[in-house]
């Protein structure tokens, strides 16, 4: 006997929402965004919101999050944000080219364009797609469009705005570009954000993305970022996720690496109710390298799932992944890392490691490496550990006079440090170390709870 729920399923709600708002979605958007909507919408409607029967979503159930009723900000709201207010929320303050987005909409901060090198474009995806479609039409949805992930299709169907960053050939941006994604609303809100980064051959950029909630309302944040890394280009992308417990984040990133290019990513999941990170790297050219790293901290009933796919489609490339999780209370985590080495991708080096520390009896971690190797001359390895804090090290520190709490903190910081060391922006490393201390001492959680009292 089947039970029919009176409540509309999340998939049905999304379908209705799309059909009712087709006009608004297309209005003001560039044809290059609009032409992707219908096919993506159909793809989403067919697939629906996945459950555990979908192998890729075995450890993360997003159905409950989609059953809530959310509003949508389908047109740009004036949304004035006090930047001082923003920085109070532990967003790292660095010397950067700073821009911010509110509920997925791009707002110019302190006119960063003025300082950027000639030819660099940093702005609203909506605006640039309208004014200079030639800049992005060869890249937009070229990677995401190949994805079978229903949330990526959903994002493409609803995409209106996000940030766009274009770095021309051989241009290096010395200062990091900092993108602050704010969620702020007086009602529960679903936010779709679509980003694109194009680093042309020989260019150099470092990007820092800070996700933050400013109000205690529920958020469903569905973000897709495509990054094109041209020949010999060097690209770093660091993401700090700091959302409150009523937030659900689906963050999909696609990286295409061309010949001899280099990518470093660091995903720091500091705080959030439910976070799902889909990270895809495709080696389209040979002799490219990717260092893909992540660290997460969870407590209470939080959940963080990192799902990575490294596609070694070209020979002589190197990928190196380190993901770590620190889990407390009843929180849960998952890491699934798939590495595919294509038949022609000889001389591939692909390494993956996932280390986890459980701080309580009830915390749980699922880890699943998956290596699919079709070439015969490759070096690949993977390893995973799930353990507790090293009691001998803890006793050693205490026996030198360091209190138990501080000693635990030191050891957790040390555990995280290996991942933090991968970050190439030194002041950012220090900021993140501070944030981790605040996270582990409970200060960040307290801050989120105080937002709306």
């Amino acid at each position: 006997m089947s039970i029919i729920s009176e409540k509309a399923t999340g998939t049905e709600q999304m379908v209705t929402l799309f059909e009712q708002n087709r006009g608004i979605l297309n209005q003001g958007s560039s044809p290059i965004l609009n032409r992707m909507r219908e096919v993506s919408f159909k793809r989403f409607a067919q697939a629906g919101i996945p459950d555990f029967k979908n192998e890729d979503y075995k450890y993360t159930n997003l159905k409950p999050a989609f059953e809530k009723n959310y509003g949508q900000e389908l047109v740009r709201d004036s949304g004035l944000i006090n930047l001082n207010e923003v920085f109070k929320c532990n967003v790292p303050q660095l010397d950067t080219h700073l821009v911010f987005l509110v509920n997925g909409w791009f707002y110019k901060g302190n006119n960063p364009g003025a300082e950027l090198p000639d030819g660099v474009v940093l702005g609203s995806l909506e605006q640039i797609a309208n004014e200079h479609p030639e800049l992005l039409q060869n890249h937009l949805n070229r990677q995401a469009g190949l994805s079978v992930d229903p949330f990526v299709a959903l994002n493409t169907a609803f995409a209106k705005d996000g940030f766009f960053l274009f770095v021309p050939k051989s241009v290096a941006i010395e200062k990091p570009v900092q993108i602050i994604n704010l969620l702020s609303s007086d009602q529960d809100l679903m936010v779709t954000q679509r980003n694109l980064i194009i680093a042309e051959s020989g260019s150099r950029i470092k990007v820092l993305v800070c996700d933050h909630t400013l109000t205690l309302t529920s958020f469903l944040f569905n973000s897709v970022t495509e990054v094109y890394v041209g020949d010999d280009a060097l690209v770093d992308v660091y993401t700090i996720q700091n959302h409150h417990n009523q937030s659900t984040t689906i963050n999909s990133a696609f990286y295409r690496l061309q010949h001899n290019s280099n990518l470093v990513t660091g995903t720091v999941s500091l705080h959030g109710g439910l976070i799902r990170n889909n990270l895809n790297v495709t080696f389209s050219g040979d002799h490219a390298e990717a260092s893909v790293n992540g660290i997460s901290f969870t407590d209470k009933k939080q959940h963080v799932d990192n799902f990575t796919v490294i596609e070694h489609a070209s020979p002589n490339c190197l990928s190196n992944q380190i993901y770590k999780n620190v889990l407390d209370d009843e929180s849960t985590g998952a890491f699934a890392g798939r590495i595919h080495v294509a038949r022609d991708a000889q001389q591939t080096n692909a390494f993956q490691r996932n280390n986890n520390v459980l701080l309580s009896d009830k915390a749980r971690m699922q880890t699943k490496p998956q290596l699919i190797i079709d070439a015969d001359d490759v070096k690949c390895s993977h390893g995973a550990t799930v353990g507790q804090i090293d009691e001998d090290a803890l006793f050693f520190l205490r026996a030198r006079g360091i209190g138990e709490k501080e000693a635990r903190m030191m050891l957790m910081n040390a555990f995280a440090h290996e991942v933090i060391l991968k970050i190439t922006i030194e002041p950012l490393r220090e900021r993140i170390d501070e944030l981790i201390e605040k996270r582990l001492s409970g200060e960040i959680s307290r801050f989120h709870e105080q937002l709306f009292v």
Partner: protein, 250 residues
Amino acid sequence: MLTIKNLRASVEGKEILKGINLEVKAGEVHAIMGPNGSGKSTLANILAGKQDYEILEGEVTYLGQDLLQLSPEVRSRSGIFLSFQYPVEIPGVPMINFLKASVNEHRKFKNLAPLTAGEFLKLMRSKKEMLHLDTELTNRSVNEGFSGGEKKKNEIFQMAMLEPKLAILDETDSGLDIDALRIVAEGVNALKTPENATILVTHYQRLLDYIIPDFVHVLYSGRIVKSGGKELAFELEEKGYDWLKNGNEI
């Protein structure tokens, strides 16, 4: 300074210490010797506050306080120092951060202001010289990639930084070559004052050539079976621990 009365302790249901009595006064050096498995390290660990042991009976008084009630960190701040037999490697915790935290916790306990960065570095430099410690070691993570000898030297270096009232050196001589042993022993001797006391836990008499004990105790099967002056160590070295097994227990 330290009084141990009829201390009995077990680990995982197995009784290791079967009634230890020991009195240590300020200015004294005590050597506790005994074969493997006699309970030497257990005693050292219990004094430092390791919680893997169950205390069955007895009491330990340190400077008038019930030692067994104190947490390991409070024991340390009160002046107890355990030099570990196997110092742990802690990747990711820089030596310098760890030492600074440790020194300043001790100062806080004594109501002293924390050292400034300059003061701390100066203190560290002088103690490093004393122990001929490679400058580079303090730039690394705690004990990470240190040789056996470096780890032991590092323990005595920490002792020099913290200037404990009661130092318990657990098998500090093991894994040391003769030069390192001399340096470590010189360090321990240099730190000796009429106000502090040292307990040397050792398997071999070798260390006692360099650090002369006032008292030697022989621990065997969880009990102190013989106590005496430094000559007892030589006797033990000559006759071996079998001598005790053959009905010579007191």
